[in-house]
Amino acid sequence: MTEMAAVEIAKAEDQKPRPFGAGYKLIGKDYSTNDLVAKVTGTAKYAEDFRAEGMLFCRLALSPMPHGRVKRINAEKALAMPGVRGILTPDEVPGHANYVNDNGTMIKADRFSELALADEPMYQGEPILAVAAVDELTCAEAIEQIEIEMEPLPFNTDPLDSLRPGSANAREEGNVWVPNAAPSRDSHLEAVKWTDDDFAVEKEGKMPMGHAPEEWSYGDVDAGFRNAALVLDETFSTEDVSHQCLEPRTTMAYWQNGKLYLYTGTQSTMQTVPAIARWMHMPEDKVVFVSEYTGGGFGSKITGAQTLVIPALLSKKLNAPVMMRISREEEHFIGRARPGIRARTKVGFARDGRITALDMFLVSDAGSYGSNGDGGACAQITSLLYQPPAMRWRNITVATNTLPRSAQSAPGGMQAIAIVEPILSKAARKLGLDQVALRRVNCPEGKAEFGPPRPDGKRGYVTSCFLKQALDEGARQFNWDARVARQPKRVGSKVRGLGVALSTYHGGTSGFDGLLVVTPEGRVQIYSGIGNLGTEAFIDVHRAAAEVLDVPWEAVDIIWGDTSKNLPYSCHSGGSQTIHAMTRAGHAVGLECVQRLKEVAAKSLGGEAADYEVANLRVARKGGGAGMSFAQAAQAAIKLGGIYDGHDVNPQVNGYTKHSVAQLAGTGLVASARDTFPHDGDSFSFLACFAEVETDVETGKYTITDYLGYADVGTVIHPAALGGQILGRSTLGIAHAIGQKWVIDPQYGVTVAERFYQNKPPTILDVPVDMKWNALNIPDPETPVGARGCGEPPVGGGCSAILNALSDALGDNIYQRVPVNCDTILTSFEAGRPMQNPLLAHI
């Protein structure tokens, strides 16, 4: 293997794209992942594919109103129906309590957090009751027989409306999440109303800016605007977009010998166990969690949720296995969504397009439970991606009686890029600059800084950034200049438009464990506690361990998806963490295993560990001579015991990993290690995204004719999987631009777009048949394998490349919100100004 840890970065601009896989045997090469044949033959088991003897079904009664109180439940008739086995009501679910996990971390009770069933539902569609019966039709009929008496409570589904004088608050305690004083990272609710004067600017189509409880700034913002050649002040709203995983969340639960067995799909196998224990108020060692395949997550299935808890509680109560599947409508309500953000952004530009100052004011929608960090992330990403020398951020996060939000691929970052990119495009047109050139002068580079000064007075910075190269290489591959020069832009009613957008998001964390066993049969078994979301990162990362061990991939087995199989403490597969965090852990455990193999050989065959080397499933004396196969080494490790076969454990690893090592003790050479590699800076991944559209100004219809995402994600681990992430998440972003939105009737607070046909993710006909991707493959100098994640970064770029292409075709007076659909274009193009209200929620 290559000494990639020693990569020296001289100057960022000297770095050139590299061929994938150069210098490696496994890393950077395509291969068929271990779970693929099961997927194509239909034998892969998703949650709904598990069965248990005597399994009951369960269905939910959802709140019909956006805010109310359950006054009385009468289930007598339902319980008398044949086939009905029982119900679960809000007073039977565990309440809010402090919780200490097995790592000793205390998680404080939060009285504003969701419970499994609500007696005061905060949104239409919140589960208030569950019925178990022998089949689902019986459940549904039983629910119809249950009288649920509810008292409607005041509600508000529109964050800006909630700030108007005299408007209703989403919760009795208030409508705005205000951060507690530092060092606390929690928030509390307050009632905040702006004045009629604050709202006066609404008439001009501008977002009002009243009191905002969150604010930071750096640099001299006023001077930046004073010295600008051009200042733009834009109002723009992003839409709330549901995750809409194709697999509706399903859970099957049963109890055996006091243990809870739970089958569902999540983004983490290991980290879901403490979450379940916390929801259930039970010890972690009594939870067995099975999650082999997951039908999409995008941030909505990070760990546990009420959909896991309801069947678990019913199963306990009724002493029978319970399967809870939810319908597509229920998935809309329970399945989480990205918060929409309303933004007023003022940006100053110098004549060469360089940003001189940026002032961003955000109204973020928190939905019905808890605050969220999207507004804060929005500002961080803006400050990193466009490097304004001076910036101010203000934010108000408003609670509404709409469904709970959660992180969705690039939380906050997607909104930041959708808000800022159209302003850059408009500036380039006003200043007579090329779009790529304007982005190039604002592009981050090297150890680029981001965010406000930290308590120590210094700003945070990234591990590395080669976005300029990605932009240049991308522009070349996309033939940007030739496309710009192509004339005419308009033929008949058809107008072409070109868009480019920068994009970034966090590229992963660190500090997790790797665990592997060399078996007496000579196989390498790698244990993975990461969720199998389908991105294949949960397998790809272990190529880092196999690369260090210099073993052929055919000799490796991956064990995943079931916590009874002794999995290590792993990151959850979310936030683009996996490739970064777990290649580090994989590299660490690979090195640990190599060292132990050498020690076993030295103890068995004489000499020092340093006299040996590991290659081709053997550990042998350097330069030839005595050696042993992996099988022999594993047998010798078992004889030696102690640290070699898992009877002793590497003290650095996490408590969960220690437990798994103890279970595996004596089964072979057991190696575990924690990622303790240092890194100077926070890891972020970057993309330059390019798109061309063709619009028909007579119908408003438009077609995306070309797309390219060019990535700076460090070392490419598995090209096909990376391509899937770049184009898949680009399309998730494109969905925001071209069509996805909620529609809520503000009068009743009820949703009218809950199924695919009303709120449709893009189909195969909505995107070009051959979208393109590429990557620089320049290793990140701060991580041993040089690789970072790419789940989030493409989303904002995908959305904004389309938005920018549309304004290139149609001008700056078309849209002030996403999505841009046919009627947006038809009405606004004719009128010569944006005709959709930018601030009303969910229209």
């Binding site: 068929s32 992942t33 693929l36 044949v37 997927k39 194509v40 033959t41 239909g42 088991k45 998703y46 709904e48 594919d49 079904f57 269905r59 009664a61 019909p64 109103m65 044949p82 086939g83 239409q124 089949d135 689902e136 039709l137 119809e144 009288e147 649920i148 008292e151 409607p152 005041p154 509600f155 209703a168 995983c245 194709l246 697999e247 395949y293 039908g295 999409g296 599947r325 319908s327 597509r328 979301l533 389908g534 294949e536 096909a720 899937g724 898949g728 399309t731 009737d745 009068q747 009218v752 199924r755 695919f756 046909y757 993710p761 893009p762 189909t763 195969i764 070009p768 051959d770 979208m771």
Partner: protein, 217 residues
């Protein structure tokens, strides 16, 4: 107004602190009158009769014979039972997925006499005497993958793969009509299938590779 019957009255609750008592059913009626429906019973699915415990739906089953993946299968079905349900819950063929249960996503696509169909929206008793092929029926008995399955494996197509059985069945069905499609034609051929992971380019790479292998086979 003691009960919330009038949708206009319902709207007043926003501004009025005065609470109103309603039953769930009446609220639904009110909302339906106001133009939006809240459905309580979207999945009307039933447990296998082998449990021997009857719910409200237990009656009315009839024994019929289906041809599934080339084999006759005897199964008790109800009048209103969908093919997806029969396959998944009575015949144990869980490779056919349910993403929406309402003919919107294509996850449940199977072939009926070689024509791709949404099995969530086909009643089982209507396919008596016809050949039903599911994802489990594509590979040869010795495990050799169908050319389209092999195309997906070779191109590392799809991500979470929940949509994959449906896409593969649609593609296999489409290739019977058009064995040599362009990428755009193949995209049309599978456009009744939705993928939320949405790397449609690699899906097309995989299906086009499958088309090529099918022609060669």
């Amino acid at each position: 107004m003691a009960e919330w019957e009038d949708p206009q009255g319902a709207a007043n609750s926003r501004d009025s602190a005065q609470s109103k008592t309603i039953t769930r059913r009446r609220f639904i009626l009110g909302v339906i009158a106001g133009g939006a429906a809240v459905s309580a019973a979207s999945y009307r699915f039933l447990a296998p009769p082998s449990h021997g415990r009857s719910g409200s739906s237990g009656a009315g089953e009839r024994l019929i014979t289906l041809m599934v993946n080339g084999k006759p299968r005897h199964v008790d079905v109800m009048k209103q039972e969908t093919l997806a349900f029969t396959l998944r819950y009575k015949l144990g063929l869980t490779g056919t997925k349910l993403g929406c249960d309402r003919a919107e996503c294509g996850s449940c696509t199977v072939l009926i006499d070689d024509v791709p169909s949404y099995s969530c929206s086909v009643l089982t008793h209507t396919v008596r005497g016809r050949n039903v092929t599911t994802i489990e029926g594509l590979a040869a008995p010795d495990g050799t993958l169908h050319p389209v399955q092999k195309g997906v494996v070779d191109e590392q197509g799809f991500q979470c793969a929940f949509c994959m059985p449906g896409f593969i069945m649609s593609a296999v069905g489409y290739l019977k009509k058009n064995p040599n499609p362009t990428r755009a034609e193949m995209a049309q051929g599978v456009s009744g299938n939705l993928c939320r992971c949405q790397d449609y380019t690699k899906i097309l790479d995989a299906l086009m590779r499958g088309a090529e292998y099918t022609r060669r086979a």
